[in-house]
Symmetry: C2
Subunit: 128 residues, 2 copies
């Protein structure tokens, strides 16, 4: 099984969607692991859901989702814990995956909007 | 099996940790589902990890993680997609769970810090 990892961070959202799709279509991967941590975890879920429900419908599936923690020291020497996520997308069809031009959604067709809330961002919050 | 759902949103972080812990210790739940959507997904993962690794070590485990999407119309009538997560925490020990006073971490002892990045928040981003 050829497994590739796409690490989701702060770059433009569609970069990650394109990277995952190309791993399946161009690089012939049979599994792509979408990995992220901290405040970018919700983006990793968005990437997996958009690929699965808009770009590679019926040809990939979400096989597994793992969450965990990493501990490390920050630059002030404080011990920091950060949550992590690994989303395993597996190819379901045995042949090559091709995005058909008729079915392929335009980037402009994909509304991405997250529920807004006036309260504080979790990623900004510290409990010390 | 007594299953309880805790929906994670924008309230103070420790409210959710306490709610999950109390479902196991006081209400006798054998499973708690931590549910969230959109930009609060990373908080749901944080809640699950803190409960699992600091408060109820050895007495609960992360049994399953499911991700998905919800479609709905916003107030302007536009079709919106939002990602969702369900994290299943299961009790591992057959008896009652009690948080021991010697082992129980103080809230002040738990550093929560997320990797900061100067780029845009995913939750603010829209691709239209």
């Amino acid at each position: 099984m050829t497994e590739q990892i796409v690490f989701v961070g702060g770059k433009p959202f569609m970069n990650y969607v394109t990277a995952v799709v190309m791993q399946f279509t161009t690089s012939g991967a049979s599994r792509v692991v979408i990995r992220s941590r901290g405040k970018f975890i919700n983006r990793a879920v968005d990437v997996a859901e958009i690929v699965n429900s808009r770009f590679l419908i019926d040809s990939v599936k979400i096989a597994d989702v793992k969450i965990g923690s990493e501990d490390f020291k920050n630059k002030d020497g404080r011990q920091i814990r950060v949550s992590t996520i690994d989303i395993h997308l597996d190819k379901t069809s045995p042949g090559n995956i091709e995005t058909t031009t008729t079915e392929e959604p335009m980037i402009e067709d994909i509304p991405i909007e997250i529920i807004t809330d006036t309260s504080t961002e979790s990623s900004e919050e510290k409990t010390e």
